[in-house]
């Protein structure tokens, strides 16, 4: 029991640099912001008072207690657009890490309300958005690479530790594994995945076709290889990724796998979300090194630029200071 306790403590509560979570925050919120912009054209059809589904129908068909601001206010265009504006602002604040946690809470509340205004438009992408944003709230994702961490140099109210227990990152990693293992488990119940024909059917759907490689998609051998390969890769991403020696090759394979799906199939955002999520399996030290390297190359670029010496020094001091703030 004692040994289990030690492992549990090390696994969930070991303190590690927070730059990795911050980097993930920037990528994740960046993608959600893209989604937000793409969705702006749908406001009247999906969320407004004269939308495709009335609020009454939503209430009747989705009777569970759930977080939805639409149920608390009178449905009007003013409220709908107000919610959209607040959502947009909170996303931008989360992206730049300004009042990160409150901004993420507001973003999640707006996101959940919009999603649950019409649940018949939702796919796994929206589910991922909600689940991971919820977990980001409890993570130290605003402790570095953020306006908060910059302001922490001047105001104690913004000061946060740069090393933090791993538990929130671990929950995100477990959640990612569960996604892959869940889908493999359910796929094994379907005959097409066992027979090796699933990729044939999936790639023949006209509305989901993106680009094609006839050489691969017309070949019996490759169709079967891709079907069974999908099961193997997804199982590896859920299970073998936890083994130290296999971690990096599996992350890279997973990223290539999702890029290939994106190439063949028009499934907006989901594959990009999954690629972003896999970043969390790099160790916090690896991600910190990457963040430092990026900042250093940015500093080198500024040094070589034609800006005035005083401005250069100010920018460099800000950048250096930001990632040198002590615990």
């Amino acid at each position: 029991m004692n040994t289990f306790g030690k492992y549990w403590n090390k696994f969930f509560f070991e303190e590690k640099p927070t730059e990795g979570m911050a980097l993930f925050r920037i990528i994740w919120i960046g993608l959600i912001l893209m989604y937000f912009i793409a969705d702006l054209g749908n406001v009247q059809d999906f969320y407004g008072p004269h939308a495709l589904i009335s609020l009454h129908t939503t209430r009747e068909q989705f009777p569970f207690i759930h977080a939805n601001l639409f149920h608390m206010f009178n449905l009007s265009y003013e409220f709908t657009y107000g919610l959209i504006i607040v959502y947009g602002i909170s996303l931008v604040m989360s992206l730049f890490g300004f009042l990160t946690r409150p901004a993420l809470i507001v973003a999640l509340l707006c996101m959940t309300s919009l999603h649950q205004r019409n649940i018949w438009l939702l796919s796994s992408s929206e589910l991922l958005m909600r689940t991971i944003t919820l977990l980001l709230i409890v993570s130290p994702c605003g402790h570095s690479l953020s306006i908060d961490s910059f302001l922490g140099r001047f105001s104690p109210g913004f000061r946060n530790k740069r090393n933090w227990p791993l538990w929130s990152l671990r929950i995100i990693q477990i959640q990612i594994s569960v996604i892959y293992l869940w889908t493999v488990w359910h796929k094994l119940k379907g005959e097409t995945w066992i027979e090796g024909t699933a990729v044939y059917y999936a790639t023949r759907l006209e509305d989901l076709t993106n680009f094609t490689v006839p050489f691969l998609l017309n070949s019996l051998f490759f169709l079967k290889l891709m079907t069974w390969g999908t099961l193997l890769i997804e199982f590896s991403l859920g299970f073998f990724i936890w083994f130290k020696k296999m971690r990096k090759p599996i992350i890279i394979t997973g990223m290539i796998f999702h890029l290939c799906i994106q190439y063949f199939m028009s499934i907006p955002f989901f594959e990009l979300f999954m690629i972003a999520l896999l970043v969390n399996f790099f160790t916090p030290e690896e991600l910190k090194a990457f963040a430092d390297k990026t900042i250093n190359s940015f500093i080198e670029g500024i040094q070589e630029s034609t800006l005035g010496t005083e401005i250069k020094e100010k920018i460099i001091r800000t950048l250096r200071g930001q990632h040198e703030t002590a615990n």
Partner: protein, 175 residues
């Protein structure tokens, strides 16, 4: 880290893992079923119910489109695609949610409750005050992908399809 904080965090971690586990596993016994229901309630409340299908258990084997057929008082009949066709570089992203609504849900026998609200929406959308709508029909046209055969794989460009039509709902406006 303070002991109390750690207890709190451990409880939080165990609760989250419990929700993930119980919302995902099948209902195999009474206890499991009861806990699953409670876990689902929490998952719905915060919007994290599990649904990671990703073409599981099987990819669908047909392309499906829903259309609205509007009959006007002067006898004109017009057919509109339910899905809005967005334009611009963001079109694929905007279109995805229309596809989900039209291709997965509106046509689905388990989602019949969506049909009447859809009739109301399209009535407003296509109304013409000088030539009122007499009836509205929502129908689905679908094409089954040629069944897979080890003997010959049809070309990705010319996979044969079996065309089918189905009327989902017809509503006369005088009613």
């Amino acid at each position: 880290m303070k002991r109390l904080t750690k207890y709190f965090l451990n409880t939080l971690i165990l609760m989250y893992l419990g929700i993930i586990y119980f919302t995902g596993v099948p209902e195999t016994n009474t206890l499991n079923s009861r806990v699953k229901q409670k876990a689902m309630n929490v998952a719905f409340a915060v919007g994290i119910w599990p649904s990671w299908s990703m073409f599981a258990p099987n990819p669908i084997k047909f392309d499906s489109k829903s259309f609205v057929e509007v009959t006007y008082k002067n006898g004109d009949i017009k057919e509109y695609d339910v899905e809005v066709e967005p334009k611009g570089i963001l079109a694929p992203f905007r279109k995805a949610r229309w596809m989900k609504y039209s291709q997965d849900n509106l046509r689905n026998p388990s989602q019949r409750a969506l049909l009447n609200p859809a009739i109301q929406y399209f009535r407003k959308k296509y109304e013409n005050k000088t030539n009122p709508i007499v009836s509205l029909q929502i129908k689905r046209k679908w094409a089954e992908v040629h069944p897979f055969s080890d003997q010959s794989i049809p070309s990705i460009y010319k996979t044969p399809r079996v065309q089918k039509n189905e009327v989902l709902i017809t509503k006369k406006m005088e009613d």
